[in-house]
Subunit: 138 residues, 4 copies
């Protein structure tokens, strides 16, 4: 974490309501875990949801990929990290979930978002200046 402002990490404990009949976190809940980390990293660079809207763009997720390497169990403490990757044309964020105790890597994922001009509804082929400005020097 040391000084890498492109990355943020949240800790969470897998709650009862996320665990399925097989005794593991249902795969569809992970999107919430990743979003907690994504909100953290985007707020960290000053580009959270409110800023996105205020600068005139929506940033829908257009691609989402998850690789479930090891199951998550009830009451397991995990660390979810999000790291901003490419941002010049799309906004790509990469995620990892690790066991908080052992640091074992359990899950990897990525999302890709694209800027949509809220005035015209058009998809931007290059990321707006508002994002580029926030990435300078990071």
């Amino acid at each position: 974490m040391s000084g890498d402002r492109r990355q943020a990490r949240v800790e969470l404990t897998i709650p009862f309501h996320d665990v399925d009949m097989m005794g593991v976190a249902w795969h569809g809940h992970y999107a919430r875990y990743f979003e907690l980390a994504r909100e953290a990293v985007l707020n960290q660079i000053g580009f959270g949801y409110k800023t996105m809207r205020d600068t005139g763009y929506a940033w829908p997720i257009i691609d989402f990929q998850v690789r479930y390497r090891h199951a998550l169990h009830h009451e397991q403490k995990v660390l979810v990290s999000a790291r901003i990757g490419d941002y010049e044309n799309h906004l790509c964020i990469e995620y990892e979930i690790r066991d908080a105790a052992s640091n074992q890597r359990l899950t990897t994922a990525q999302t890709r978002q694209v800027a949509v001009d809220m005035a015209t509804g058009e998809i931007c082929l290059a990321s707006p200046q508002a994002l580029l400005d926030r990435m300078v020097g990071l």
Copy 2:
């Protein structure tokens, strides 16, 4: 159902992702089941979400009560009904979940909503005319 426009019913099958480690639908998911039936009955009387907004009011739920009488199981087929009760000051809706095969009553619930004037943000002490009009003769 015959002609009772105050009531609507939806059928659903309990999916894998709603079932917890005890093998039954987690209690927090029922709010979604009730909402499917609520949307059905409100659309039936011509007072769905879009109409609510277009007539200038939000209708937040201010009270929610559920009585879980019998568990719901994976792949169980159930009928969820919603029936409009009092509507003059609040909008009260009562719900039942029944087993589709045996008709056994499994769950009862109710929600209470109140009109909020979207222009002023104020809570209405009486239901707006837009709702009263739709209840005439029902």
Copy 3:
């Protein structure tokens, strides 16, 4: 909190995925918030999910009531507390959600659980000794 082991509190920030088109947390998501606090208080008294199972009982929620007093907004920081109330025949837990900054009370709720003997499937009219033991002196 000082020494009251019957009560536990968790802090959370309302995430994007819990907020609806009206800009507030959808009422059905609150059951997750309450469960986080319930798991905390039950673990605190040594009566978490694993202990419940190991002592031979399931504890389904049979009644759930929520009073939504003020809306929760995106990125609002809130404190969710759970406090064990009556436990001799049922296990009743009372909840409050307060704004973390102002301490304003936003939501109140309660759940009622009943012990079910996992060997026989029968509902217990009195709470099992395993729970009573853990409440001694609290």
Copy 4:
């Protein structure tokens, strides 16, 4: 659909609770939509959850990819289809969401599951006979 038993389709209407502040279905909810179609196709070939367990295997999802091509809106009626692809080593299922009225393709996705022997906990390098048997002639 005519006679293609490898494929199943479910219809659904996007409910209020799945729609976010941007007015579209939140991307993380789609996993539920796909699961409804997956359960349908697996039950259709006689290989639903109960059968999986009874034949001694768990089938966790190890990979999930979604391509969000067009947003889904509140009350939009959509068709979600699931089609079994490769099954000899992994169980791959491909999904499409289409608008029910226009048949426009809105979303594509795929999941990959692997058999885990529930007695030993070991991952199977080839799909168990129980699945192969059900695919004969399809």
